[in-house]
């Protein structure tokens, strides 16, 4: 399992272990170390047999003498590595959704749509071991891809993937948190209200201002409170000791995230 647990052999790369292979900040791959196979890059290849039985954190040279670094995957690696079939969630946004979305170990979470399963995997990792993710995806290809990705990460026991249209409603009730990551979330907000427990959290990821406008209008019609909208801008810092500065090129925008909490009407005399 990709998630970190304190096995005695936690530090050793085994046959079948997931490894992160790093060439540099941009070129990095999440893959399985398989006995007898080799890993190919444009800077040469190496044999998995040479790293199996060794600890994570080692350096290995390719056939062309390029240094590669072999790390044990951490959650942020999942987002940069899973093949994407839809809009991308970055670690900064996933982290914010955990905290503002009220998602913790033990949480019951509903997600729509699944996409590549990247965010689903992050959520699954953080509700372990007693929580669960119910995720909705209508597109056949995304359903299959996400299933494969989440199985590969050995997180499928914490996830139920449903090939269903979320705009028709959710099967679950009493969810702690609902995450909407699809193009028309305003069509699902009233279903999200019904499926949440009282005071449960709703998180909506949307890239455009036009979507923000539609979401807000719908939220104001529903009985949600504590509505906030956040955009995180990530600046990478160039870490040359004699020339420290924000990097010249950056990702300028990923999306806006709207958070809200379900309110309930109760007579207080």
């Amino acid at each position: 399992m990709i998630a970190t647990d304190n096995y005695p052999d936690n530090d050793t790369i085994n046959d079948g272990s997931y490894v992160l292979v790093v060439l540099n900040e941009r070129k990095r791959w999440l893959t399985k170390a398989i006995k007898g196979k080799q890993f190919q890059t444009h800077k040469g290849f190496f044999k998995f047999d040479d790293i199996i039985g060794k600890p994570y954190g080692i350096k290995i040279l390719t056939s062309k003498n390029a240094p590669l670094y072999i790390f044990k995957p951490i959650p942020s690696d999942l987002l940069s590595q899973v093949p994407h079939s839809s809009q991308i969630i970055y670690p900064k946004d996933a982290g914010l959704i955990l905290l503002y979305g009220g998602i913790s170990p033990g949480s019951k979470v509903i997600e729509a749509g699944t996409g590549s399963g990247a965010l689903t995997s992050i959520l699954a990792n953080y509700v372990r071991p007693s929580g669960h993710i119910y995720t909705y995806e209508i597109r056949e290809d995304a359903y299959k891809t996400s299933m494969k990705n989440i199985e590969n990460l050995e997180l499928i026991q914490y996830v139920t993937i449903k090939k269903q249209d979320a705009s028709l409603g959710f099967d679950e009730t009493n969810a702690d948190s609902i995450v909407l990551d699809l193009g028309d979330p305003w069509q699902i907000i009233h279903h999200a209200y019904d499926a949440l427990r009282a005071s449960g959290s709703l998180s909506i990821f949307i890239p455009t201002y036009n979507q923000v406008e539609k979401v807000i209008k719908k939220l104001k019609e529903s009985y949600f409170g504590d509505i906030i909208g956040i955009e995180l801008i990530e600046r990478e810092i160039q870490l040359k000791p004699e020339a420290i500065r924000p990097k010249t090129r950056m990702i300028g925008h990923t999306g806006f995230i709207i958070f809200a909490r379900k309110m309930v009407r109760v007579e207080i005399e």
Copy 2:
């Protein structure tokens, strides 16, 4: 416990339950609902007896008819509510540290320094139930405050607070992740290396460029790899449907976060 679990009575405010009382985006309080007591704001008071036995997510009017909203706390509430005795960690930064710091349910984490215990509480929440946080704090007042804060949040079983100077070294070894949140982290980096397992993650939160420079120089001397520096800028969006725009005033800077992973030297023939 503040963290979410699926108890049958999960949704009901009990005597002694933690509640988040919300007046507006700025004015909000994390407090315990205590039978027979009342909660005072500058907009009037209400009696806890009026909300105990009710579900979370309700609206209640104060003695001066101001509406207050009562929510079940989520992780982001912890950071805005714990009385701060040192530099502040925001949800955006805490979320990033979870993902890039490789902190998951089950993780063994070392933190220095504890400060108010706000970040400690977040980390404790996310390593539950089988992980643990070992946190170092040399200042007497911060040690006591953090102890009280973490106990109040019922997270103390996942935390060991040590009144010790981290610059003298850590007692633990084989940690999955180490988080440094103090003024002179460069003095602790070599101890962090020793205390981490192979491929373990180091996260360093620092507000100034001068600190970035010192940290980088020290990291380059140690055997850490995959070093990255990130600053997150958070823009809150004004959500009036007819006037959507980034808010005029914002927190322009909290800090830079440097992430690195421990490498190990192994002979590969």
Copy 3:
């Protein structure tokens, strides 16, 4: 005149000279040095007679021994000092409008609306000596305030203020540049097209996304080209040598600026 010219006595504070009085980064005042009068601050007062005849750039102590600095005003001071009666333009935005709006010495510029006259003064300063600003303002109070402000800055010879509704059209034609700084610029875009010379520049300052949407739809209906939208985020840097960092609090948003250029239909055989 506030604008800089190379008079022999350029450096001397005279009776009637404009001066910038600086207490610190936040507290600063643009005022006239008047013989026999004194200048009052919450940190004490000083007499103008004590600085008249002295050069700009001096330090003077108030009656309470607080140091004040007396500078010769520069363009950025105009924007922070003119009493504002409407939305604020910052130096960063005014500078961008000069360059992307094609406004240079000699330019014929139309502006709507005048507001406090702050941006008008900046534009007037930069079209000197042979250019001119025609500025439209419908509100009586803003008309009067701007007249007084621009006269005080001795820039009125470069400006014609018209108490007219710009949505009824402009009197001028063949303008090099038009700047719209009012709430509903989409109602004026077709008039702007008519009043611009071929290839002339249009600059539209708007605070909300909703306004961007309306402006863009209208621009697409008109025959404008090279349409771009820019938002400038200004971070002030804390300049303590041992603790250099972006400042904690900042202005997060002033507005979006949309730039476009007038196209003309000509048969090219």
Copy 4:
């Protein structure tokens, strides 16, 4: 001349006129329309004879039927078009330097170093007609390139380019404004003090934090006041009416700009 003046034939493309040829937001060229020649792009060519005698603002099709737009150049075009031989100044930064650097029509300005002459050209445009730029460049190739660029833009009458080392001091005194745009500005700050008039403005453009630190230390040793540091972050907005959002990719950092004003010591009894 590239700068805008109100000639009767201001709107007509003549033989030898500067034109901006726009394919899209990224692909654009500043060039001279020369009778008998043609302009080549990767999307086909067109003949200048087809646009000479026509107004600016027209659309023309290339030999491959790609639409190109022909505009009259404005100041921002100068910065994107001059071939760069050193660090780049963007319109946002140049505009800020005008306003905070106290540079207006009539100003006497010193610049070091000249580089490609791009910023020099902007400054020259805005001090017209009675001001002047004295610019220092030690590198032979930059000296020649900038000379050619500024001559081409017909701004050379407002500029004196000196092939001299600015760290040895400036020949001029009583300057209204000095702009430092080179790698080691801290070595020139005392010369800048000597060359400025009382209350004159100093602007220093530097890309790295390390340079900020050195500059600030030097400024604190000199007698400069009102020192501020600014970084402008430019976000381009995607202007699709149904999908308005900040663009995904952006330039994350160009540089920090430090502004200061010369103070003078005068006995005030």
